[in-house]
Symmetry: D2
């Protein structure tokens, strides 16, 4: 079967990650070209080391290449929606990093373009492809424990990002919790109808100067009646803490963290076990490969992607509702945000 030819838009950290995975781990894909407005020698050398010779600064070089079937949108967030629309306009399938945009109208525009063009769209909510969270999902979806009652997500980053990053991040709910909003939709199999968020700047790192929080707890109510709860911290200090749990009619399924190793060291001083893996690159390495494979397979087999248009829209809307709840000190219905 013909390989899926891919153009990658944006070759920063996440772009390079996808390129490497496509080349090394997705046999039915090939990276045909890279376009990055900040293209430099280091990136060209990186590309060459992987056998990719077509590099440019202009995304149009990819859009106008008729041999290219699909694009990976790994540019800065504010260009995502535009890239989707340009790709759709020339009939190319799109894998887009999250979020599509922080403006719902822009997201809707991009989705409309994709639907009109009949191309596939997959949004990069990578955690759905992690073996642990997928196991929780699969057990819930199998129905063996009955209907879900409580969806719990613990999500803590290992350490603070620079304050310069925080300044333009869009706030904890849009920047960090957005992954968890996707996760609770995935695990519950239902849509969020209302949200109440508590947040606080407790770490002393300076989030308060941006009216932002480093610590948050968010409650959610789902269409199917289930209740969700997420707790977030910007700095766990012990590693990437990513636990999910669903309590159902007949029991509970939960996953703890992947650890650096399975060692236990016992002495008079105490008993020591391994830390969780440090951050998302270590924890979700295989999930990044898997989401890429699934996207390429969806193109080859002409099936739906596992994270589609609505999955690109809803977490942004929930993040907006959570931020509104946090600012206004009240429960916010999704309707208020979705219009």
């Amino acid at each position: 079967m013909k390989k899926v030819r891919i153009g990658v838009l944006g070759a920063g950290r996440i772009g390079k990650l996808h390129i490497t995975n496509l080349v090394q781990s997705v046999p039915n894909a090939e990276v045909a070209a890279i376009a990055d407005p900040f293209l430099n020698e280091e990136t060209v050398a990186f590309a060459e080391s992987l056998g990719i010779t077509k590099c440019s600064k202009d995304p149009q070089d990819i859009f106008s290449d008729d041999t290219i079937d699909a694009v990976f949108v790994c540019t800065s967030t504010d260009a995502h929606a535009e890239m989707i629309m340009r790709a759709a306009a020339v009939g190319k399938h799109v894998f887009c990093e999250k979020p599509i945009h922080t403006d719902l109208a822009k997201i809707r525009g991009a989705i409309a373009a994709v639907e009109q063009a009949g191309v596939k769209l997959q949004v990069g909510f990578v955690r759905r492809f992690d073996h642990n969270h997928k196991k929780v999902h699969d057990v819930v979806a199998s129905g063996r424990l009955g209907k879900p009652h409580i969806i719990k997500v613990c999500s803590r980053d290992p350490d603070h990002q620079p304050m310069s990053y925080i300044a333009t991040s869009g706030g904890i709910f849009m920047d960090m919790t957005i992954h968890d909003f996707d996760m609770v939709r995935y695990l519950s199999g239902s849509e969020v109808v209302e949200v109440c968020a508590f947040g606080a700047a407790l770490s002393g790192a300076g989030y308060e100067q941006y009216d932002d929080a480093d610590t948050a707890v968010i409650m959610l109510r789902f269409e199917n009646g289930a209740i969700g709860v997420i707790d977030n911290s910007r700095a766990s200090h012990y590693g990437y803490d990513q636990r999910t749990e669903v309590h159902c009619d007949k029991g509970c399924v939960q996953v703890s963290n992947d650890l650096d190793d399975q060692a236990m060291i016992s002495s008079a001083e105490g008993v020591e076990v391994a830390k969780p893996t440090w951050f998302f690159l270590e924890r979700y390495n295989n999930a990044f490969i898997q989401e890429t494979k699934d996207f390429v397979d969806a193109i080859q087999n002409d099936t739906d992607t596992l994270v589609g248009a609505k999955d690109g829209l809803m977490p942004v809307a929930i993040a907006m509702a959570a931020a509104k709840s946090y600012r206004e000190g009240r429960t916010v219905r999704l309707d208020e945000v979705l219009g």
Copy 2:
């Protein structure tokens, strides 16, 4: 040193538990008398088997016995406050099962009586004496992890109580979450200032006919800035699920459940481990003994009890605020309830 002589008011299930523990496990106490309005032959036989010969139907027999130093109030909840006041009036120390009352004015009256009389009061929030939760508390209180940011409590009962019990229980927040409200105060070392509660009747067992919930998630904000979250279910089906966790400035301390055993059974069919212990009598057996010892020690050594008057008042107020939040669909400040 002279043994502390105790009169037990109410010899139902919890009364008998305290009597047995006092006799068998608290060497510096003796049960001098039992008073229970429903006294029957079975209870008299139970008492005799433990060497207790003074049984009556009238609590006055205990209040008027000058050789008795302290009472255990194990009557029905609506009589707790009155019993405390009568005990205080005759200078007897009081151990009172929770809650003191569901009316804050009554609680305040009882507390005022106790304070005026200068007698000791301990409220039966037994979980503070559990080795696991105490470990979480002690690590937080030691300051080694810095200030608390997130206080998490998971609390699920193994199975539904009869609907006849639910009808008069006062609702999930007053009947069940009240223990968790005490726990978050204990673990955070701070007072709750506002509460937001989501609840739902999802089990099909019929809670909705009493406007009650079988499933709840409650967010709390503390004076020290920390955020708390509790999740409750009336029916886990796999046992008593009681986990606590505090995420702090420098890390996290958490406890999982005590299990029936440490066995792991591995075969082609899968890997099986033990369930959590079934319910509170199994899980908190040692904690019940410990709270009794501590109360008796506090009397002998004339020290403060570990769960005092304010600890009797605040969880009831938080439960009222949570119920109000649940009914009104909004965040409720404790001020609104405490006046």
Copy 3:
């Protein structure tokens, strides 16, 4: 039903433990009398605090008391066999601490006396009554995993005994591993036919001066074909390490240690969990109660005890074979020892 009246011979540490358990936790037993050649005021006071008024220095006071149904033999080891024979001679049931003797002829004499008299004998291999090891036994005995192939026991004491104790202990195999020899018989449901023991004095504490080992590994072959292995250390330093495992035809059952608590403390420094409980009094507290209850029940219901005469003989024989293997550097058949 009439309570079983018990006389306790020897009121040292283990005697006092059994007395306390009998009084507080075995409702169908009563301690009628205590005899201890070293009886002192402290022991009399201990007895009185539990309501036991008959104390003497002469065991004959117990043997000649016709109201006493059974004795607990908690004397020094060298007197065990004689006490059993005297008890049997006057028709009293016997609970005897392990080992009955370190001379097989003496054990056989005691067993013959017991059998002739038709009284019950239970030997104090307490670990059979532990919830964890019993679970392993029960899973194996149920047959759900098929026949046992490998029986594994890890048994490490928390710290060295005084060298004065080691000097007269009889050596690691007779003093310490003897419990494990009982355990492998219990778990395998089969008799040991040959043994090979490696031992070494590695700790620097001085075991070599008594030709004794502080570290040992012992392989065993069972009649049913299974292979066993035990590893021992006199000093784990992290607590009492007592793990058992049976690998069977269709899978494996194993138990890890009971821990002080279920806490996990995570920070930049690492992740810390609780130690195993410190020593046998903490670990096997409930097992001590259970073995006592079972003995008393066996008398009341006239059923077999769960740890009988052969269970008193065989671990001693295996210990002798292991010691011989250790000294002679070869595999030793049980026949060589049993004659």
Copy 4:
């Protein structure tokens, strides 16, 4: 820095694994050529898909290619030693799958050739590169727990190999335990001086017809005084069970299995956790990559390989001693085998 050019001898399952890893995961290596006497179209296509165009049936094509720096010996076991000698003769470094040979003289000949030629030799004991076992090694080697006393290895394959394989496997000690013999040397940091092995054919699969065992326990004594113990089963049925543990002067370090996931499913039926990963390809996937990287780095940096000549010789000698012990029913000194 110039890439290390590698010729792969033998392109069966393990050869293909190394080729894939070298191409995809070892940037400073390139696979220059493949030689396999059974070369077929499928292998040529496999090679081409990885950009390798030089394939032949004759190893001489590799030995005579002066641009090739090193060879991977992945042929059938009986050809290993000859391939090493031919590679050494033409000055090529050698990575050789285990065992070098089952005849000590042949191994010694190969080692002598390598040493004379001054080329590097690495033997494929892949488990040394596993994150778990390496952690145990590193903790022991760091000395923080003092000297090792007990080295324990549990090693069970998930299921029986075909009896046709068993017929020519060389027996459980040479075929399976050989990895564990390497492991105990690695973990103890010391040489084995004597061995005692118990084995049995218990599964009913038919090992007895080859005088072979499906179940074994092996005790080992080390030069540094430590005692080792290995337990083996050919068929765990629940997955690849690979646990290691070292008890030292001041405490213990142990590793349990990597699992398929971190999920726990709790319901009235029980609590279920994930199985160990199924077999060595799943469990040691990263270790295979790591050993390859380390070999290539050793060549580029001219450092010693981590698994050298003596590591190729000693496990075979220990396996011979264990087999002899099993057959003769006695402890065997390594001297008897090594001469």
